[in-house]
């Protein structure tokens, strides 16, 4: 995150930097919201139980009428496109590490909102992954 701030301060103008920061916030908010509501919707509709062609079609039909799934889908799509916009405004080596925050936030969301059982081992694993992602794009 600090690396992202550093990279952002080297951008052309204060307005540009503020826009980029706002865009990063949108990416994180959209992907957290998208993933959480998608998972909630999938839990409600059962998701893809079987993978036969007819079963998949039936699942898609069922999910397409679920508001949570649709919300999740639009959240993930919005996150993807805001990420694209962000990548065109700031270097990838600054953007990718900053998105590592979503790993921590979404794990918290899964624990608090979705009531998943996040064991200490999983907490450590998620934290390791987040730190690794923050390092990997340098």
């Amino acid at each position: 995150m600090s690396a992202f701030l550093f990279a952002v301060t080297r951008l052309h103008s204060a307005a540009h930097a503020a826009r980029t920061l706002a865009m990063l916030g949108l990416v994180i908010v959209f992907s957290v919201l998208g993933d959480l509501s998608m998972k909630h919707g999938l839990d409600r509709t059962g998701g893809f139980k079987q993978l036969g062609p007819r079963a998949v079609l039936r699942s898609v039909y069922r999910m397409a009428r679920n508001a949570w799934v649709l919300l999740g889908l639009s959240g993930m799509t919005a996150a993807f496109f805001t990420l694209l916009v962000l990548l065109s405004a700031a270097p990838a080596s600054a953007v990718i590490p900053a998105t590592a925050a979503t790993f921590v936030l979404e794990t918290c969301g899964a624990r608090l909102i979705l009531k998943e059982r996040v064991t200490p081992v999983r907490w450590i694993g998620a934290a390791l992954v987040a730190v690794g992602v923050a390092l990997v794009a340098r």
Binding site: D35, L36, M38, K39, L42, D43, G46, G47, F48, K49, L51, M76, F80, S88, P91, F103, E106, T107, G109, A110, R111, L114, K115, E116, R117, V118, T119, V121, R122, I124, G125, A126, A127, L128, V129, A130, V131, G132, V133, A134, L135, V136, A137, R138
Partner: protein, 376 residues
């Protein structure tokens, strides 16, 4: 018509331009002769307009103009003289890189040139009516000696205009020749840039390409334009190197109207020898030759299709397992990206990056040990 045989002169390729200038000035009732530094008359020496109208010999006048030209070449200054026939002659030096290479002398008749005795003699010789002859010579004798300064200014202005046109044409010709001979190098550069992995920011990369072009191709200036295609897909980037007299709008117009569209259709570099810029660009004939290469970018469409596939499997996976399980384990993609870019693209992976990959792998291993689904 009396003539003085013209000899070969050395005016640095200006002869053609001066010939054009001579006919222009003739329309204004001025007679132009051009002399090189050695005192040779450029082109076919012609009698002055007055002599041409009346007939007779202009050898005397030519000699006087020659000596005037000699004085101009020696002094490097503008000179004015009155010739024996009554004509007024003014001359300016012709410069080539601050060196006097010759003189341009213009002569024009004044009222005192209209000598009744000479007119009568000319009537007898040619059998033309006196009034017709009078009207003819009044056309070239309408100035007075006071006009000498004006004619001098006109002459030097016309001369400098011809010379700058001449210089510009010569430079364009050299530039065109250089570009044509190095087109092969350019297409090589294009092929290389296609294989090159752009690691620097686009602007820095383009700048280095332009600087390289200046070095390699020995040209005066280069403009690099990354034109976002399709229009509006991103920010246009313009860099210049060397002596370039284009503003951003003009260069962008060049890129957008011609280069980008044509390259997008063919995907091939453009070499246009007879390039005419769009009228709205205000470039006139300043740009005669256009060379453009497309920059090769990863195929976006293929990337989109892969992304769709990823999206589907991600949703399927999410419906079978916890979000807190799926999310960390899909970070394995970072490992794949690093390994693929190392082995397929030959990219250098820094130790910091390997550390990050190690952390991701150990984190994923930890998450794998937990139960995939904790809710019923």
């Amino acid at each position: 018509m009396s003539t003085l045989a013209g000899t070969t002169s050395s005016l640095g390729g200006l002869e053609k331009a001066l010939e054009r200038l001579r006919s222009d000035m003739r329309q204004m009732g001025l007679h132009l002769t051009v002399w090189d530094a050695a005192g040779n008359c450029a082109g076919q020496a012609q009698a002055c307009l007055l002599t041409e109208a009346l007939g007779g010999d202009c050898a005397q006048g030519q000699q006087e103009m020659k000596s005037l030209a000699g004085r101009i070449v020696d002094s490097g200054q503008e000179q004015t003289a009155t010739l024996g026939c009554g004509c007024c002659a003014v001359g300016v030096p012709i410069l080539n890189r601050r060196r006097v290479i010759g003189a341009a002398v213009a002569c024009f008749g004044v009222e005192s040139c209209i000598d009744p005795q000479r007119l009568a003699q000319a009537c007898n010789q040619s059998g033309v009516d006196r009034n017709v002859l009078l009207a003819r010579i009044e056309g070239c004798c309408r100035r007075t000696t006071q006009d000498a300064q004006d004619v001098l200014r006109l002459l030097s202005w016309l001369l400098s205009r011809e010379q700058s046109v001449q210089t510009a044409n010569a430079e364009l010709a050299t530039l065109s020749a250089n570009l044509a001979t190095t087109y092969e190098e350019l297409s090589l550069l294009y092929r290389v840039s296609g294989c090159m992995k752009v690691t620097a920011a686009a602007e820095d990369f383009l700048q280095s390409v332009c600087d390289e072009l200046l070095e390699v191709m020995n040209i005066e200036g280069a403009v690099g334009l990354i034109y976002a295609y399709p229009p509006g897909a991103g920010r246009d980037i313009l860099v210049t190197a060397g002596a370039v007299d284009l503003n951003a709008d003009q260069a962008t117009l060049l890129g957008s109207t011609v280069a980008a569209l044509r390259m997008a259709e063919t995907g091939k570099p453009i070499l246009d020898n007879k390039f005419s810029p769009p009228a709205s660009s205000g470039l006139g004939s300043a740009v005669r030759k256009l060379v453009a290469v497309p920059l090769v970018l990863p195929p976006v469409v293929g990337g989109m299709a892969l992304l769709g596939l990823f999206f589907f499997s991600y949703i399927a996976l999410l419906s079978w397992a916890d979000l807190s399980y799926v999310l960390p384990t899909t970070a394995t993609s970072y490992l794949l990206v690093a390994v693929l870019s190392h082995f397929l693209l030959g990219e250098q992976v820094s130790w910091l990056r390997w550390t990050g990959i190690g952390l991701i792998v150990s984190g994923v291993a930890l998450v794998f040990r937990t139960e995939a689904r904790t809710k019923s």
